[in-house]
Symmetry: C2
């Protein structure tokens, strides 16, 4: 009899070839010119599930489609597991900073480089492949499985919550499993117990009607770029704390036990700094690096554009200036409230000589899970078996805004089981996934289903 492990051992080469095919599709959800590529990636997921024996449906939305795959032959008495992933990716720009092109996957030094390698096509693929192997070698699964793969995670999942609400009964499940996160360190398997939320806005400042000569008008007419810089500078105080009144009102401080657990993790701060290449680390006074990343909220400028940015010295007084600004949030901050606080703050500090506009781009709530229950235990044991070491509980600075939506709408616990590694350049040039984790990840998932089979 062929075991799932035998199958896995046999297919290393074809495994990579298949994943490369998926990664080559430039499914950039933020860019309208990639609309048909995003749809191709959806079809790729759907085809794979159908070939595995799942019934599939492409659920249309006002944006990109949601792929729904179902296998319910474990019967009504068996538990149901919902697997969520996303087949869209971040824009790949700036392209010139990639060592190999973002949509031409390449393995170098044990790393599989491609946009989406870790976030999230590579990790979604681990699940698809584990399901295929189990179905192929055992003819079925120990639990009912529903797969939800969306194409709008990188633009804030605007259509996922409506989809969950519309299909609440059909999606009923006992646990949700998501692999869109990272391990704490190489060789240290991890289960995520908290995520930061997100409020992402654009701030637009307008002074004059159009750009003016900075000599003829400078000194007497408001400069949109100067005003924007001053507004942005007002968002933090000298201690690195966010200076928007009310920003920390609903922040739940972690107890000393939880903070001690974080402090106890084997974190190499100098290694972390070195990996980023920054001359030094910087953040909110009174907190250590992992706390700043996991349990404290932030305010980041994500982009700036104003005036003349080309070659040479153009003496222009910019009429318009734009900043992309995002806040990472922790329980119980609410993204809508944070963006309302930002508006009030800007209204209070902006000079009346300019117009200031705040445009909402996307919002996601923060999340903190409770690490217990049969699915959590099964995942813990599966990770320990695969990696030969008990998993640690970690936090994550990034956002998977839909995690709390799943918990709330479906009433099921969410399990965050990530196989990426720190420093894998998510949302940046040269994104990579540890090549060996292709087999390790699938193996862990096979163990997980094994644990559930009883």
């Amino acid at each position: 009899m062929t075991t799932p492990a035998d199958t896995l051992a046999r297919i290393g080469g074809p495994l990579r070839e298949e994943l490369f095919h998926f990664l080559r599709i430039p499914s950039v959800s933020a860019r309208s010119e990639h609309r048909s590529d995003v749809r191709r990636a959806a079809a790729w997921v759907s085809d794979h599930l159908r070939n595995t024996g799942f019934s599939t449906q492409m659920v249309e939305t006002p944006g990109h489609p949601i792929v729904l795959g179902e296998w319910r032959e474990a019967g009504p008495e068996a538990p149901t597991l919902l697997i969520y992933g996303h087949y869209d990716v971040q824009p790949a720009e700036p392209l010139e900073l990639w060592t190999s092109p973002p949509f031409e996957p390449e393995i170098r030094d044990g790393r599989l480089y491609a946009r989406g390698a870790t976030d999230d096509k590579g990790q979604l693929y681990l699940h698809l492949k584990a399901l295929e192997i189990l179905m192929g070698s055992r003819g079925g699964l120990p639990v009912n499985v529903v797969v939800v793969a969306e194409g709008e995670e990188e633009v804030g999942s605007p259509n996922l919550l409506p989809f969950l609400r519309d299909h609440q009964d059909r999606l009923a499940c006992d646990a949700v499993i998501i692999s869109d996160s990272q391990m704490f360190a190489p060789g240290v398997p991890s289960l995520l117990s908290s995520l930061r939320g997100l409020a992402y806005v654009e701030i637009h400042v307008q002074g004059a009607r159009s750009d003016l000569h900075s000599g003829a008008y400078g000194g007497a007419v408001p400069n949109a770029a100067t005003v924007l810089a001053r507004l942005l500078a007002s968002l933090h105080d000298a201690d690195g704390r966010v200076a928007i009144p009310g920003f920390y009102d609903r922040v739940v401080e972690w107890d000393s036990e939880a903070r001690a657990a974080i402090d106890g993790l084997p974190f190499d701060e100098e290694g972390f700094r070195h990996e980023t290449g920054a001359p030094g680390l910087q953040g909110e006074a009174g907190y250590r690096t992992l706390e700043r990343l996991w349990i404290r909220p932030t305010c980041e400028v994500n982009g700036l554009l104003s005036g003349y940015t080309g070659e040479g010295a153009k003496t222009v007084l910019p009429a318009r200036a734009m900043a992309k600004v995002s806040f990472r949030l922790v329980p119980d901050q609410d993204p809508d409230r944070i963006s309302a606080l930002l508006r009030s703050h800007l209204q209070a500090v902006a000079p009346p000589e300019v117009k200031v506009e705040v445009r909402e781009l996307h919002h996601g709530r923060p999340w903190r899970g409770s690490p217990q229950g049969p699915f959590f235990e099964a995942a813990r044991r599966a990770l320990a078996r695969s990696f030969g070491q008990e998993p640690v509980l970690t936090g994550e600075g990034g956002s998977i805004p839909i995690v709390s939506d799943f918990e709330e709408v479906l009433g099921a616990p969410v399990l965050l089981l990530g196989f990426g590694l720190p420093g894998s350049n998510l949302h940046a040039p040269d994104e990579w996934f540890p090549d060996a984790h292709l087999e390790k990840g699938i193996e862990t998932l096979l163990h997980l289903y094994g644990e559930l089979d009883g």
Copy 2:
């Protein structure tokens, strides 16, 4: 006998056609892709002078050439007038904000629209045409005339001062006349008595080696865009004064008489604000608008670029951020010293967790002239005759950095005789020149030579 005035009256149509030909050449000196266009514009000026009867020379420089035209047949006893102008123009971007394309001149509602219409091809053309008309109708000029037309004014004239020094004897003259400025208001002829200088730099901030995920790293790694905004905000205090220590040390305060003369000008502040389209005017506390524009130094952000600026919400923590920043200077501020003060200030306030670099783009000294002497008197009378009203003395917020170079190297007074109008969108989309000032300008210059003929 045909008088110069008869000739001028006859050639209105061909005059515009000829100028259009000049304006159609996209002689953008800041952009390397326009190198051959800049050279074409130089050849156009040179050809025109040669056809007028001048001996001409195309003087090569490490950048764009300087056109030198000479007519010295008035004899060694007659005075020599040096005319300076520039045939290069500012970049035309953003192109989409032009009503008609920048290099396809068009007259609408009495305004001649084109990049360079006022700054400075249109005004240089007035001189070329006046010389042509005089030579054609009278067979000569009452004074010796040297024309210096450069192609690097908009990039800081890096090769003009060396040229002046190298040809100091050959360029010896009794006065320099430059038409690269504006009249105070429609119908109000003006002579310029002060210009602001310029120090233009780029500030580069670098935090991490490359862009990072703002969730995974935000809060603990320095954000180049946030730091840049804070640096820029530190350049002004709450009263709109430049907050760089030492910035005002060498500023010569104008006496109350000179300030009263400025206050006495018929300036329509609300009309000025309305023309800019800004909700309000803004500047250094304690000074009125014309003072802020003419006699007070400034610091302006000319451009900002960092992180992700495309469509949608990319959660990136920018590694790099760039600002173009320029200072308008007044006597006796020195551009080199100002940029050294900026460096010291940034060094003092920048956090050690980032790298900050200041790159010099260009420098020009401020200037204040003394409104007297035979050439000044001739210009005053010529303007009064053409416009039916005595000219006013004005200041100018913009820079013509080479004015003080001319005075210093050649020891001759500089006469700034401008025919542009306020609001003519210099360095901005929809630059225009008042169509009627084509004839008015040439007529004034014909009067000027008439005044000198005695």
